[in-house]
Amino acid sequence: MFFEIAIDMAVDDHAFTLDFSSDAKLTALVGPSGVGKTSSLNAIAGLLRPRSGRIVVDGQVLFDSAGGVDLPPEKRRAGYVFQDARLFPHKRVAANLAYGERLAPAGASIVTRDEVARLLEISHLLDRLPATLSGGEARRVAIGRALLCAPRFLLLDEPLASLDEDRAETLLTLMERLRDELSLPMLLVSHSSAEVHRLAGRVVKLA
């Protein structure tokens, strides 16, 4: 199983449950706005503590309220592309990309910096500060930053929103390659049924 997740979460007075197992390498999480998709990714990344339950990704227990397991985010090694880009505003693009790369265990990398720069077409942006990037440029950098931290799995929150179709296509191809060649488990939040149908081996509907 790539994902075995059964958790109970609450943000303020909103409560959600997420309960699925999937042996598809790429699982899509779909559902209407506000249903709890982002909250679910936050819980899996270790940014939001579920009230109870169990999170297992690729055989590794990340959280288990019964067993007292709760790995901190830095031990979970998720490559998380946030719904907003969430770049570090005081660091140039190159430093944003290098942030996770520098902390990654040696030999664990899944892509090289050059490859990322080429595929995402961000080589000309390396010297810029995030405040000067366009919406799509910021998103591409955020994707690059997540891929470079040598993640054990990917959490993608609408990664292709605000990207033009050519670039979206390049990224879809990259995601297919990561899925097939590296067997990297991926959890994708997307509102595009075309995207979901093309990529996902399993679709989890939240409602």
Partner: protein, 231 residues
């Protein structure tokens, strides 16, 4: 205007006292600011209030409390003297202690404002990228609160340069040891007809603080991200 040797001594001492006071107080203030801004613990309000004390008490009283605590007869001062042979009263380290204590509340407040303005979600992003809490703090929170650090250092330095009441009470007014600019100005003010000497010293104080101001503005501008150009 060229300085006399006596004026140089005073300037050098003032700078030494203020720089040391700010450098030593800086990490302490930042730690306190971070605790008060980011942690919720019992006694937090009390700590906050305690930090403000040197601001609200007349400086002479602060100096007096320092004397009681850190004088050779005091609880901490006695221990320092017995254990290490260190005396703070009547020498420049005492003046630096007084200046640092008076600067503390200003530094903590400025830093706290900046820490509170840092978007905590960025810390979360750093954590997912593999940063431990300490590293996330050092690489995200700390640099993003730099405007507050610079403002705090500037305020603290200016306050240290201008500090009078606590210093004369705690560290006395000894030429070459604790007679900083304000104490020298005070001493001159005691001498009738010394307006010129007072004015000279005041101009020196103004020039020093102007320099510090320019330095801190430059530091922030240099290290700060370009802003979006859209209104």
């Amino acid at each position: 205007m060229s300085l006399t040797a006596a004026e140089w001594t005073i300037v050098a001492l003032s700078l030494k006292v203020s720089v040391v006071a700010v450098l030593v107080t800086l990490p302490v203030s930042y730690g306190l600011a971070w605790l008060i801004a980011r942690r919720r613990f019992p006694g937090r309000m009390l700590l906050d209030a305690l930090v403000h004390l040197p601001l609200v008490l007349p400086p002479v009283v602060t100096g007096w409390l320092l004397l009681i605590l850190l004088g050779r007869g005091g609880a901490i001062g006695g221990w320092l003297y017995d254990t290490f042979g260190i005396t703070l009263v009547f020498n420049w380290t005492g003046a630096a202690v007084a200046a640092g204590v008076m600067a503390l509340p200003l530094m903590v407040r400025a830093m706290r404002l900046s820490i509170e303005a840092v978007d905590r979600r960025l810390v979360g992003a750093a954590r997912t990228l593999g940063a431990t809490p300490l590293r996330a703090f050092l690489t995200i929170t700390l640099p993003l609160s730099l405007p507050g650090i610079a403002a705090g250092a500037m305020l603290g330095f200016a306050r240290s340069l201008g500090e009078f009441g606590a210093t004369i009470t705690f560290a006395a007014n000894i030429e070459g040891e604790t007679r900083t600019l304000p104490l020298a100005i005070y001493s001159q003010l005691q001498v009738p007809g010394s307006e010129d000497a007072v004015a000279r010293l005041a101009v020196i104080a103004i020039v020093l603080s102007l320099g510090a101001l320019l330095a801190s503005e430059w530091l922030v501008r240099r290290s700060q991200g370009a802003r979006a150009h859209v209104l």
